[in-house]
Structure formats: structure tokens, C-alpha cells
């Protein structure tokens, strides 16, 4: 029996060419451009010390939905630590991603209660709608799906959050309505 691949978005060598710059492109459309000075304001919120590395990376994750390579390198220079050390940290923590994520992040709970009440079916439903598996992002860069372990709302099982908003007792039939509302909302 082989170990099942970890379903969360992890960095893998194949991602390198895909996202080489700090600009996020999907289908040739630029979604977000990150200016170097943005990093400096993120960095300067903390003293130049190794122990703030994780906090800065969490801020980057919050700001861009991932830790950009330029950001990691800027942080290494700021706290005078090797890039390798920060890269090791960034790949260690599940809450940090080195790949750009979608505008909306769907988290499907697969804790015991949600699992029993059909979280896997929700994952299947989302896969049918967007064609993405846990850890993947849609081609247009709008949605990313993650499978998480427990969100502490077992009474509402199966639970799903989209951008931190909780949806309880989700049914497969109600999925498309939730996403459609978000997709319309996000249009400028």
C-alpha cells in the first residue's frame, strides 16, 4: 500500500515554471500584481528578528493568499536568514501556501462528523462544478478548494467555509447557488 498523496496544496517542483513571477496570471489575465514596496510595508511591521519570520509569512498569506517567492526572498534579506531556512518553514506549515490561490477559498471540512455526513460527496460536487480537486485552483483563478480536518462546528455537519464564512448542513444541490452568488459578487 502506498501512502496517499497529501491532499493539501503543497509546493512541488512542477510549480516552478507555472508561477515564476510575483504577478498572478490565469489564462493570460493578470489578477494581482505585487509591488516590491508592498513587501517592505509588510516587513517593517515587525522587528528585524528571526522569530517574526512566521508572523510575516502569515501576513503575506493573508494579503496575497499565498507566500510569493519575492516576498520570501525579501524577508530572508530583512531578517538576515538564509532563504533555505524560510523555505523549509513555508513548506512545513499547512496554512502557508507557495502556490497562488484563487480569489475565493473554499474549505471543506473532513472531520469525523462531516466525513460521516458526506463531506466527500461535497468534494465530489465541487469537482463536478469547477473540475478541481482539493489543493487545486480553477483555471480562471476564482476558486481554490481545500480539505481541512475540523472547523469546530460539528453540529452543523457537513460544514464548508468560503472566505471564512460558514455554511452548515450543505447539500450538493445548494452548492452551485452559493458559488454563483460569489462569482457575481466578485465582478467589478
Amino acid at each position: 500500500m502506498r501512502p496517499t498523496p497529501y491532499p493539501f496544496s503543497r509546493w512541488s517542483p512542477a510549480d516552478n515554471n507555472k508561477f515564476a513571477s510575483a504577478e498572478i496570471y490565469f489564462e493570460g489575465r493578470m489578477l494581482m500584481e505585487i509591488m516590491p514596496q508592498e513587501f517592505s510595508s509588510l516587513l517593517e511591521a515587525y522587528p528585524k528578528d528571526r522569530r517574526y519570520a512566521l508572523a510575516v509569512m502569515q501576513d503575506m498569506q493573508r494579503q496575497y493568499n499565498y507566500v510569493p517567492r519575492e516576498g520570501l526572498e525579501a524577508l530572508a534579506e530583512y531578517i538576515s536568514r538564509p532563504v533555505a531556512e524560510l523555505f523549509s518553514m513555508a513548506t512545513f506549515y499547512k496554512s502557508l501556501s507557495l502556490k497562488p490561490k484563487g480569489v475565493h477559498i473554499i474549505k471543506v471540512c473532513n472531520g469525523a462528523a462531516c466525513h460521516i455526513r458526506g463531506a466527500v460527496n461535497l468534494v465530489g460536487g465541487i469537482k463536478r462544478i469547477f473540475g478541481i480537486a482539493p489543493g487545486e485552483t480553477t483555471e480562471d483563478g476564482m476558486f481554490s478548494m481545500e480539505l481541512v480536518n475540523c472547523m469546530g462546528s460539528c453540529a452543523l455537519a457537513p460544514v464548508m467555509t468560503v472566505d471564512g464564512k460558514y455554511y452548515g448542513q450543505v447539500k450538493i444541490e445548494s452548492l452551485s447557488a452559493i458559488f454563483e452568488a460569489l462569482r457575481n459578487e466578485a465582478k467589478p
Partner: protein, 246 residues
């Protein structure tokens, strides 16, 4: 303080690590993740021995077990052999390509567990010696990447590492030969990067990579050398011969 190892009385000072005491007294305990220059990894567990203290007999990891009181140690008892064999069988499953582990497995008659999946094309046991060597040296070009079953040792973004100086210390400390180094007369390739070698200006033997020598010069404040170790020794000897002739 005197402890007894396999019936032989050995002197040691309190707090000294058992592995050091044993090797000083001529006992050979197999190790993988231990390196005298980078102690304290303690993760391969191959160096386990049995320690008898008062009326208890415990299995301890010799490389990180400080001897605090008089005890008797058994480095090759049946219990040690059995458990070491089991540990080696597990290590073999995670690094089946390693010749050193295969050799030890044969030596300790490691059992074959059919339920264990053999990791394909793997030599690394993730002991972390290479990372620790690179960090101690001051280059910090490699680190552990990812976590759990996906953990590997690599350079940032798996690219030719900018911080690497090509000294190949990582490969030198690796117990299983998992890090590939290719070297010819003028260059060395390691971690997907190619380094130019400095050749000894006297005998033409490679001294080290240019980056490595520059790094050493920067760190020590001594001018970059272009002589190999042997020629350097000769040069110093020549200087000493003539030192008092003036």
C-alpha cells in the same frame, strides 16, 4: 568514573556520551546519523545499546545518552541485535538503494517485513546531517522541504541554490551516499549547479571550488589559497627550513 562495557572496565567522566566512551575503548557500535563534528542528531537509532542500571535493563541511544552513574553496558546482546535488526529493516524500506544499510541489514540479520513498501530509488534516510553541516558551515543552501511522508532535503524551490558554495560537505557527511556529486578535472556538479574547481598552482590537483575558497577566505580573513593541502604543507616546511638561516 568507571563503567563496564561488554565486561570491560572503561573510565569516563560524568556526562560523556556513551558512544564516545565506547568508540574510545575500541567497541564498534554501528551508526548512520552520527558524525563527530555534528553530534546530537540521534535519529537513526542504529546505535542502540542495552544499559543495566541498578536492577533495570534499558535500551538507550548510545550517541545521545550521557553517562551519569556507574552502569554496565551491553553493545551486542540478543535484545540489542534483535531491535537493531528491526530498526534497520525499517530504514531499508525507506532507503532501499543504500548499500550501507543493506550491509548492516545483512550483518544484523534484519527481518523482511513484506507489508512494508520499499520507497523507490531512495537512498536518503532524512537524518538531517547534510542540512546541519551546511548550516554549521555557514552556507545554509539546503534545508528540509515539506513535511511527513513528503519530506525531502532540497534547495529552495528545487533550483540551483544561490547560497551553495559547492564544498560538498553535505555529500561528505551523508551516511548513505544520497547526495550526488559529479566531479571531473575542472568542475564539480552538485545540487543542480556547476562549480569551477581551483587547481593547485604547484601540482595541479583540485583544491576546492572557487566559491568555496572565496567563502573560506571571507570567513577566516586569510587570503585565498591556490595550493592544495600537501603543497601548502611543503611550502610551510620550506619556509621553516630557511627561517633561521638569515
Amino acid at each position: 568514573m568507571i563503567i563496564e562495557i561488554d565486561g570491560k572496565a572503561c573510565t569516563c567522566s560524568p556526562g560523556e556520551y556513551l558512544l564516545n566512551i565506547a568508540s574510545r575503548n575500541g567497541f564498534s557500535i554501528p551508526t548512520l546519523c552520527h558524525h563527530d563534528g555534528l553530534p546530537g542528531q540521534g535519529c537513526c537509532r542504529v546505535c542502540i545499546v542495552e544499559v543495566s542500571l541498578r536492577d533495570r535493563k534499558d535500551i538507550v541511544t548510545a550517541c545521545i545518552y550521557p553517562v551519569e552513574q556507574e552502569c554496565s553496558v551491553f553493545t551486542d546482546s540478543d535484545r540489542v541485535k534483535r531491535q537493531r535488526g528491526m530498526i534497520l529493516a525499517l530504514l531499508r524500506a525507506s532507503a532501499p538503494e543504500s548499500e550501507e544499510i543493506s550491509r548492516l541489514c545483512k550483518m544484523y540479520d534484519a527481518p523482511l517485513y513484506e507489508r512494508l513498501t520499499q520507497k523507490a530509488n531512495e537512498k536518503c534516510i532524512l537524518c538531517g546531517l547534510c542540512v546541519s553541516a551546511c548550516e554549521t558551515l555557514g552556507a545554509s543552501a539546503i534545508s528540509s522541504v515539506n513535511r511527513g511522508v513528503e519530506k525531502t532535503v532540497s534547495t529552495p524551490y528545487d533550483e540551483p541554490a544561490a547560497d551553495c558554495i559547492g564544498c560538498a560537505s553535505c555529500a561528505a557527511v551523508c551516511p548513505t551516499g544520497a547526495i550526488s556529486v559529479e566531479e571531473n578535472n575542472s568542475s564539480r556538479a552538485i545540487w543542480n549547479r556547476k562549480f569551477t574547481l581551483q587547481l593547485c598552482r604547484h601540482c595541479g590537483k583540485p583544491v576546492g571550488t572557487l566559491d568555496e575558497l572565496a567563502f573560506a577566505a571571507r570567513k577566516t580573513g586569510v587570503a585565498q589559497t591556490t595550493l592544495c593541502e600537501e603543497c601548502r604543507r611543503k611550502a610551510i616546511a620550506d619556509e621553516m627550513i630557511t627561517a633561521y638561516e638569515r
